[in-house]
């Protein structure tokens, strides 16, 4: 039995014994070593990690450039496209690496020998997707808090991690993991416990067919779009079960609202998604993304006025589908305590939030693939073809013309728009939510669908009218984006005069 005072819990020394004493002692050592390093070097660590991620992107661009080549060859052999395609041999890996301009294949081909088995690649890719789906919510939560702070003229989290509170999400995660796993006495225990997984697993499953690049997709299903739609749809079951099993008025009301608005918003969402499907003629997300590789004017959002409307409707419905404001009625803190989350705490509560933020990326990614050019940059991909297949050429192609990095950047931009809307618009009432869906969005999207059908029938993409409209839409889009950037730049240059020194100095990168 030892008496110890721990630095992170000031006050009386606490008695620890046995294994606990060992754990506390070790934690004290780690804390003593780690704290000064972390607090002094947080910013260098942050910068290094940013550069590390950039290098990682470079390396993966290189590596998967070679996988691309392999898969283009195997793609014709069967329906199982994607990174997890057919079996490879060590010689093929070596040949692929050589084709990619890597000269030290002697060692590398043996380093990559497990990759020849499809199941090993499956496991690696699943782990990669899982890691991405863990990092995204952590980053998005920090970003959301900082953005909320900026919008409300306050700095947001500033303390944890010493650099603009960058360690706040991990700290929250550790806190939530330590909390007691509370199940109310009157709740339906098994259902209460299982509900967070019913929400989280479908969202993760949606990543199975979400393409990050033309071959950066776990499985290129011919029904990829429908699968993601289905996964977003069955997420509701988890929320409704959570609300019902909590055995609490607030939770039941929250669950009712969720079921109500999700079931109704699925209809305009599905119909809006039909419009890009109609334009491209495929339900496969890889095909739809690949059809937009000719520069920003070929992005489907600029194709004709109706696809633009569809993009707008889809975006609104996607806000509703991941319970973001102004559609966050299932939580509705001001009237329902916390809605379906009222009785949840600790890890299960955290799972709901992981699911919400991961779903934000899924719907943002779907928007990007369907309307905003997917993994292509605004420059035509054909320009990149002249760069050759060397290491440098591949890297430039992957980072500037078309690659997963661009997809992730666009997805995060869409997440930022969701955050921005959440902290700008007030929550609307449930009857207004349903009115907006059934009496406004549904007729509008029906008209859009009909008009787009007629448009595609009478003005195919290579007809004069279609080209004129496409060019006009694309120019309007470019003008809007550029003027937005100009306004942003003006605000950034004059930031000290506009918001004052204190606020500027508390801003990351200010």
């Amino acid at each position: 039995m030892t008496q110890m005072s721990v630095p992170w819990k000031p006050g009386e020394p606490v008695e620890y014994r046995g294994v606990k004493a060992l754990i506390v002692g070790l934690s004290k050592v780690v804390y003593a070593i780690g704290r000064p390093i972390l607090s002094r070097l947080a910013f260098p660590i942050f910068v290094c990690s940013v550069f590390g991620i950039a290098l990682l992107v470079f390396a993966t661009t290189l590596l998967f450039g070679f996988v691309d080549d392999r898969l283009i060859e195997t793609a014709t052999n069967g329906p199982e496209l994607g990174l997890a395609g057919g079996e490879l041999t060590v010689a093929e890996i070596a040949a692929g690496l050589e084709a990619a301009g890597v000269w030290w294949t002697g060692l590398l081909k043996y380093l990559f020998w497990p990759v020849q088995y499809a199941i090993v690649r499956d496991i690696i890719i699943s782990l990669g997707i899982f890691c991405f789906a863990l990092v995204t919510p952590a980053f998005a939560i920090w970003w959301e808090r900082k953005s909320a702070g900026r919008i409300q003229s306050r700095p947001g989290p500033m303390r944890v991690g010493n650099w603009h509170g960058w360690a706040q999400p991990p700290a929250d995660g550790i806190k939530l993991l330590q909390k007691e796993d509370l199940v109310p006495a009157d709740a339906d225990g098994p259902l209460f416990r299982i509900a967070p997984y019913l929400v989280y697993i479908p969202v993760m499953a949606a990543f199975a067919t979400l393409p990050f690049g033309s071959y950066w997709v776990f499985r290129n299903l011919d029904v990829g779009l429908l699968l993601i739609l289905a996964m977003l749809g069955i997420e509701v079951i988890g929320v409704v079960v959570a609300g019902w099993a909590s055995h609490s008025k607030w939770a039941i009301y929250g669950a009712m609202r969720e079921a109500c608005h999700m079931v109704s918003y699925e209809i305009p969402m599905g119909m809006a998604l039909l419009i890009p499907v109609m334009c491209v003629g495929s339900l496969s997300l890889v095909d739809i993304g690949g059809a937009q590789d000719g520069g920003w004017h070929t992005w489907l959002v600029f194709r004709n006025p109706f696809t633009f409307g569809a993009a707008l409707i889809y975006f609104i419905a996607s806000l509703a589908s991941c319970k973001r404001a102004p559609f966050d009625l299932p939580e509705g803190e001001s009237e329902l305590v916390a809605g379906f989350l009222t009785e949840y705490s600790g890890f299960r509560w955290a799972l709901f939030f992981f699911a919400e933020y991961t779903a934000m990326f899924v719907v943002a990614g779907l928007m990007v693939v369907l309307f905003l050019g997917g993994w292509h940059s605004p420059l035509p991909a054909s320009w990149g073809a002249q760069l050759g297949d060397g290491v440098i050429g591949r890297a430039i192609k992957g980072l500037i013309f078309s690659g997963p990095a661009l997809f992730i950047i666009k997805g995060y931009l869409m997440i930022f728009v969701q955050i921005w809307i959440r902290w700008t618009l007030p929550r609307i009432r449930i009857d207004q939510v349903l009115y907006a869906c059934v009496q406004v969005m549904l007729p509008v999207v029906m008209v859009l669908l009909l008009c787009n059908t007629v448009w595609e029938l009478f003005f195919p993409p290579d007809s004069i009218v279609a080209i004129v409209f496409n060019v006009i839409m694309a120019l309007i889009g470019a003008v809007v984006v550029v003027s937005f950037l100009v306004v942003m730049a003006r605000g950034f240059i004059n930031r000290r005069r506009e918001v004052g020194y204190l606020a500027v100095d508390l801003m990351p990168g200010g």
């Binding site: 259902l191 289905a230 996964m231 749809g233 069955i234 079951i237 019902w244």
Partner: protein
């Protein structure tokens, strides 16, 4: 869960549907075991076989739990697992479209409506099913007859040696089929749905 919440509202059709479903799964499994077909063999992938048994067992177990349950929402969640497992089996057979439609229509639509209906129409949150012996007898008799029929049919049928696996690119063929060969049935079904929608709108209309 206290007894004061329990209501006595027998819903015989649910129980009957559950029995029917379990019988169908039993029959499917029996077919798989007896006919040595329908089960992915080792040459088509060890992993597929493992997944087949996992999901088949999951569907069967969840079906049995529907039968054994008395709590409607729990039964709905078990039904969700049944539907999900069957969708996974469709995926294993390469019928992607069918699997996804299973998720969208049954899991995402009908199941939600079922839970929603139960939550809206019952005064007490803990809806329980209390089954009368007479209903058990009827359900057992019907289930037995169905099982005998199915098992008989399965043993009589001459099953193909090769397992039929779709090529995973089914959606284009299904679409083409629906709009060419099967256009009339497709339109008839859509008219039926229209009639149902008009009926629902008529029922939900405000009396004024």
């Amino acid at each position: 869960m206290s007894d004061s919440f329990s209501t006595t509202r027998p819903i015989g059709s649910h129980r009957f549907a559950a029995v029917l479903m379990v019988v169908m799964f039993l029959a499917n499994t029996a077919r798989a075991w007896a006919g040595e077909t329908g089960v992915p063999q080792a040459e088509s992938g060890m992993l597929e076989a493992v997944f087949f048994y996992v999901f088949a067992a999951g569907a069967l177990f969840s079906g049995l739990m529907i039968c054994a349950g008395k709590n409607v929402i729990r039964m709905a969640v078990w039904l969700f697992f049944v539907l999900g497992s069957v969708a996974m089996l469709y995926f294993l057979l390469g019928a992607n479209f069918l699997a996804v439609i299973q998720f969208i229509v049954y899991a995402g639509g009908i199941l939600i409506l079922l839970i929603f209906g139960v939550m809206l129409t019952n005064r007490s949150p803990w809806v329980r099913l209390d089954i009368k012996p007479r209903e058990v007898a009827i359900a057992a008799a019907v289930g037995l007859v169905l099982m005998v029929t199915l098992v008989g049919m399965i043993t009589v049928t001459d099953w193909p040696e090769e397992m039929a696996v779709a090529d995973g690119l089914t959606v284009a063929e299904i679409g083409r089929g629906l709009l060419t060969t099967y256009l009339v049935p497709f339109e008839v079904v859509s008219v039926l749905l229209l009639v149902v929608m008009i009926g629902a709108a008529y029922l939900a209309r405000q009396e004024s």
